[in-house]
C-alpha cells in the first residue's frame, strides 16, 4: 500500500469502527467507514490482500484515477446505500439479469444522477474503476434511458458530435440498419 505523504484535505468522521483512508487523484485524503469503503470491490480486495490488521494504520489507499469532485459524489452515494441497502443473498444469474435490466431506478438514485451527462459518465468511469457494480449499473441505465428518448440527431447535438459520414457512408450504413427501422423497406407482395 502506498502512502499519500501529504494531502490538502483530511476529513475525519468521528465514528467508531475501523477507518479506511483513501486518497484521490489530487492527493486529497478521505477517511471512510470500513463498511462504506468495502462497497468498492477494489478497496475490499486490497484490504483483504493486505489483511485487516493493517487497515487501521496510517496507510492511505491511492485511488489515482478518481478526481476529488467525483469521489465526493460517489461518497454521497456510498454512504446513503451503506445505510439503506439491505444485505441481500447472492442472486442467481437470471435473477441478477432481471434485477439489472428490469428494475426501475430508485427515486433517490434518480435524483443523485440528475446531473449533467458528462458528470454521469465520470461517475460511471469512477464506479467502474472502483468496481462498484451497482452504481456503475445505475449510471449505465440512466444513460441508456436518456439515449432511448433521443434521435440520432439529438444524440449528436447532446454530445457535440459532428456527423462525419460521407453521404455514401451514411447511405451504406442506413442500408445495413434499414431492416430494423420503424418503417422498413417494403418488399414485393409475392412474399
Amino acid at each position: 500500500m502506498s502512502t499519500a505523504a501529504s494531502s490538502s484535505t483530511s476529513e475525519t468522521i468521528a465514528e467508531p469502527g475501523l477507518k479506511i483512508k483513501v486518497s484521490t487523484k489530487e492527493g486529497e485524503v478521505f477517511e471512510l467507514d470500513e463498511k462504506v469503503a468495502k462497497m468498492s470491490q477494489v478497496i475490499r480486495g486490497i484490504l483483504e490482500d493486505l489483511g485487516e490488521q493493517n487497515g487501521g494504520d496510517d496507510s492511505v489507499l491511492p485511488l489515482t484515477q478518481v478526481e476529488t469532485r467525483i469521489f465526493r459524489k460517489i461518497l454521497v452515494w456510498l454512504k446513503y446505500h451503506a445505510g439503506h441497502d439491505k444485505e441481500e443473498a447472492p442472486k442467481a444469474e437470471e435473477d441478477e439479469i432481471i434485477a439489472r435490466f428490469c428494475e426501475e431506478i430508485p427515486e433517490w438514485d434518480q435524483k443523485f444522477l440528475n446531473v449533467d451527462q458528462a458528470v454521469i459518465l465520470e461517475i460511471m468511469l469512477a464506479a467502474d474503476y472502483l468496481d462498484i457494480k451497482k452504481l456503475r449499473g445505475l449510471c449505465c441505465k440512466t444513460v441508456a434511458n436518456i439515449l432511448k428518448t433521443k434521435t440520432v440527431e439529438q444524440i449528436r447535438e447532446m454530445y457535440g458530435i459532428e456527423n462525419d459520414f460521407t453521404p455514401e457512408e451514411e447511405e451504406e450504413i442506413r442500408k445495413q440498419t434499414a431492416w430494423c427501422e420503424d418503417e422498413p423497406p417494403r418488399q414485393g407482395s409475392n412474399h
Binding site: Y80, W108, D116, A144
Partner: protein
C-alpha cells in the same frame, strides 16, 4: 454538530468556486444536495471549472460499460447509435463489442445477408400488422452452427421480439424455437435471455417444447387478413401428418378459413426462399435472387422439411393458438 455536518462544511469551505458562479456543467447541485439531505448525508459538491467538459466521447467509456449501456437498449436503438458518427459506428461494430452484444456476425454480412435481414423484417413487420396474439419463431439458418449461428439466431429472435412487441398490440406470446441450438448456449446469450423477461405484457416462452404440437392449428383468415402468414412445424409434425403450413398470399384474401393437413393441399401455395438458406438442395428456378415455386415443386425438395423450407423467410405464426390449445 455531527461529524457528517463537519464533513459537509469542510468541503464547502474548501470550495474555491462560489456557488452562484459554478459552471453549468453540473447544473443540478440542488438535486444532489437534496439527495444527500434525504440520505442524511449532507455533502456539498462542486466542480472545478478546469474540469468542465462540454463534449463526451464514446471513447471515454470502457468497453464493458459501453456494452452494459447497450444492453439496456433494444436492437433498433443500438443500430441507430451506429449512425451517430463514424467513430461510434466503428466502436459499436468492433468484433468484441458485437460479440458482447450477442450480435457478432451481423455486421459482417454480405449483400445477400443484408437482403435476408430486410426480407425477414418485412415478414415480421407484416406479421406485426395483423392482430397477432401468439407467435412462434422457428429456427434459422443451419449453416455454420453453432460457430457463427447462435448469436445470429439470438439477434434475430431478439430483434424480432423487439419489433413485434412494439408493433403488435395484441401480442401475448412469443415462442422461441430451440432449433439446432443448444439451450445452454442460447440461455447465455444475454440479449435473448433478457428479452425473455423484459416484455411486461408479452410472455416469451422457452425453447423447444411446445405443448400445442399435438393440436391442429386453425388459421382464421380474419386474423391473418394481410396474408403472408406461415404456420409450420418441426419434422415430427410433418411425420405425424399434422402439418399446418400455409403461406397466404393476397390471392387468398377471400378465404376465411384454413385447416391444412398437408402442404400439398394448398394447391396455390407459394413460397420463396433465399438461395443460400437451402443452398444447392433447392432445385427450382431462381428469380431475382429468390426461389419461387408452387406446391407441385415440393416433391423436388428431397429431404427438406417444411420447417427448413420456410425457416428464414418466415416467422411461424400460430395466430389462433389460443383457440387451438
Amino acid at each position: 454538530m455531527s461529524s457528517r455536518r463537519k464533513l459537509s462544511e469542510d468541503i464547502h469551505d474548501d470550495c474555491t468556486v462560489p456557488k452562484k458562479s459554478r459552471p453549468s456543467l453540473e447544473n443540478t447541485p440542488e438535486d444532489l444536495e437534496a439527495a444527500g439531505n434525504a440520505a442524511g448525508e449532507l455533502v456539498d459538491v462542486h466542480v472545478a471549472p478546469k474540469c468542465s467538459r462540454t463534449t463526451v466521447s464514446i471513447h471515454d467509456l470502457h468497453e464493458n460499460i459501453l456494452v452494459e449501456i447497450l444492453q439496456h437498449l433494444d436492437i433498433v436503438k443500438q443500430l441507430a447509435l451506429q449512425r451517430v458518427s463514424s467513430q461510434w459506428n466503428t466502436i459499436l461494430t468492433s468484433p468484441s463489442v458485437l460479440r458482447a452484444r450477442g450480435v457478432d456476425q451481423v455486421f459482417y454480412m454480405n449483400h445477400d445477408l443484408t437482403t435476408r435481414y430486410i426480407e425477414f423484417d418485412s415478414l415480421v413487420d407484416r406479421a406485426a400488422c395483423i392482430e397477432l396474439v401468439h407467435l412462434f419463431l422457428g429456427r434459422q439458418i443451419r449453416s455454420n452452427w453453432p460457430e457463427h449461428g447462435y448469436h445470429y439466431h439470438a439477434f434475430l429472435l431478439s430483434s424480432t421480439c423487439d419489433l413485434l412487441a412494439k408493433k403488435s398490440p395484441r401480442l401475448k406470446t412469443i415462442v422461441l424455437s430451440q432449433g439446432y441450438i443448444d439451450k445452454a448456449v442460447l440461455d447465455h446469450c444475454l440479449p435473448l435471455s433478457v428479452k425473455r423477461v423484459l416484455f411486461d405484457r408479452v410472455t416469451v416462452c422457452g425453447f423447444g417444447t411446445f405443448p400445442f404440437y399435438k393440436h391442429n392449428i386453425t388459421i382464421k383468415r380474419d386474423v391473418l387478413r394481410t396474408g403472408n402468414a406461415i404456420a409450420d412445424t418441426e419434422d415430427r409434425m410433418w411425420q405425424l401428418g399434422a402439418i399446418h403450413c400455409a403461406q397466404l398470399t393476397p390471392d387468398d384474401l377471400e378465404a376465411t378459413f384454413f385447416r391444412i393437413r398437408k402442404a400439398k393441399e394448398l394447391g396455390k401455395l407459394k413460397y420463396e426462399l433465399l438461395t443460400d438458406i437451402v443452398e444447392s438442395r433447392q432445385p427450382t428456378a431462381l428469380k431475382d435472387g429468390r426461389w419461387s415455386a408452387d406446391t407441385s415443386d415440393l416433391n423436388k425438395l428431397g429431404n427438406l422439411t417444411l420447417m427448413e423450407l420456410f425457416t428464414f423467410t418466415s416467422c411461424t405464426i400460430y395466430s389462433a393458438m389460443s383457440d387451438s390449445v
